[in-house]
Amino acid sequence: MSADELCYAGIRELGGLFRRRELSPVDYAADLLRRIETLDKSLNAYVTITAERALADARAAEAALERGTAGPLTGIPIAYKDLYATKGIRTTAGSALLADWVPDFDCTCVARLTQAGMVMLGKLITHEFAFGIQFPGHRFPPARNPWNLDHIPGGSSSGSGAALAAGLTVGSLGSDTGGSIRGPAAFCGIAGLKPTYGRVSRAGVVTLSWTLDHTGPMARSAEDCAFMLQALAGHDPADPASAREPVADYLANLEGGVKGLRVGVVRDYFFEQVEPETVAAFERALGELGRLGATVRDVAIPSIHATPSFMVIMLTEAFAYHERDLRARPELYGDVLREKLMAGGLFRGDEYVQAQRLRAQIREDTARALRSVDVLVTPTALGPAPAFKVALDPDFPFAKSNMGPFNVTGLPTLALPTGFSSAGLPLSFQISGRPFDEATVLRAGHAYQRATDWHRRRPPVPA
């Protein structure tokens, strides 16, 4: 396998190479660090590279392999969205406000993946506070999309999407409040899983909106997401929203296929404003699931059009989190983000309560739809990644969101690549399941990826 192929290898393949001593985790980490050094100059995916830490982790992994105590993630490189607190390593949240914050603790997710033997390559740029793209002049430059540097990689887990697509890490963690795992996954042609609300701990991850924030894995395949979820999932007393639901074995039935799986398509709302190429790619994916043995039918979520009200919840909670700094040090917030956050201070208490009532209704209606089908499939984004010149228009509207409904409902949702636009940019669809049924979502996604090769396409990474 060439070095270029190796940097795109998956977790199962790398684990096999490590265990058979055909590849050293130390050599592999060193190779990826060199690749980052070369390629990230044009991508800006990394905000901090932790080379010494990576090599120390890799040496520990090698020792575990020699002792015979290695697990499936031992020696696998990972880079974290810079919203995840890392002990002794600055955690900026993509902001000038936290540019020099060095936590004295690891957040729960980092602690669990470190315990599982993963090798930390560094921290990946996030949209400022997981909400605002960095405009020119910002303390941190924005990440660029490896498929076309003039286009955004999506956000807010922008560095995670760019680094995975460019082969600059094997795994990453993102956070998703209104689509921040799935959006970059869609725009960069990778996989992103937003687990059920409460499935993966948010403790030690900088907050955007308490009742909408989710944490989860990003990778190049559904299978790699399953490997990471297995190590991440489980109750954490440090996160008040953490669930006590039992953790499934996400890998045991991954190869089970989709024969007999009941797939529901919500034709209302999710296809409004969606570009024709995205719709065509979605219909092809649906056809593929049908050929693999799934049964497909349309289902309805009557209250789905009330989804935009989730912005009342998100903005109000974000304002509650940021108010003190917004009033005391507004100059430390990026352009446009500052006013977006201030908008959250303009809602009334009754409007927040009504938004939560509508949320309960959408949740009920979606649960009803999921009684007649096992999963829902919908286009992830309305189209491919927009160009920077479009996204950096201060009046660029907050687009209608196909991802928000699954933050509102908290349902597990996996975004996967499903083709390319005529301009060569990735397209995506998302698979959503019942609460805590990540296993079915991942099984469906894995079956689709075994039958297609969109996730194996590589961008023309600039040297």
């Binding site: 009742t211 007393p237 440090a238 996160d239 008040p240 929203a241 953490s242 059009h305 009330a306 989804t307 935009p308 009200s309 989730f310 912005m311 009342v312 903005l315 917004l326 009033r327 507004p330 446009v336 006013e339 977006k340 201030m342 908008a343 201070g345 303009l346 809602f347 409007e351 309560v353 009504q354 938004a355 939560q356 009532r357 509508l358 949320r359 309960a360 209704q361 949740r363 009920e364 201060p394 009046d395 509207p397 907050f398």
Partner: protein
């Protein structure tokens, strides 16, 4: 009490900002208005008395989420 229009007006944004004590620059008022209009449209379309009773999604747990000593 007069009914509210479906969309938030610029004057309403200015008034809300004044009451909240938040200095939103004139150049960003239209952006903020867009956010508020989009988010509030479903709420303004809601007839709170006619819709079946739905409790807010956020619930309160008297025992709290954290375990003792955590």
């Amino acid at each position: 009490m007069p009914e509210l229009p479906p969309d938030v007006t610029l004057d309403e944004v200015k008034e809300r900002a004044r009451l909240a004590g938040l200095p939103i620059p004139p150049a960003r008022l239209s952006l903020v208005r867009g956010f508020l209009s989009n988010a509030l449209r479903p709420i303004r379309a809601l007839d709170s008395r006619a819709v079946r009773t739905v409790e807010p999604a956020v619930t309160f747990d008297a025992k709290g989420g954290a375990e003792p000593g955590s």
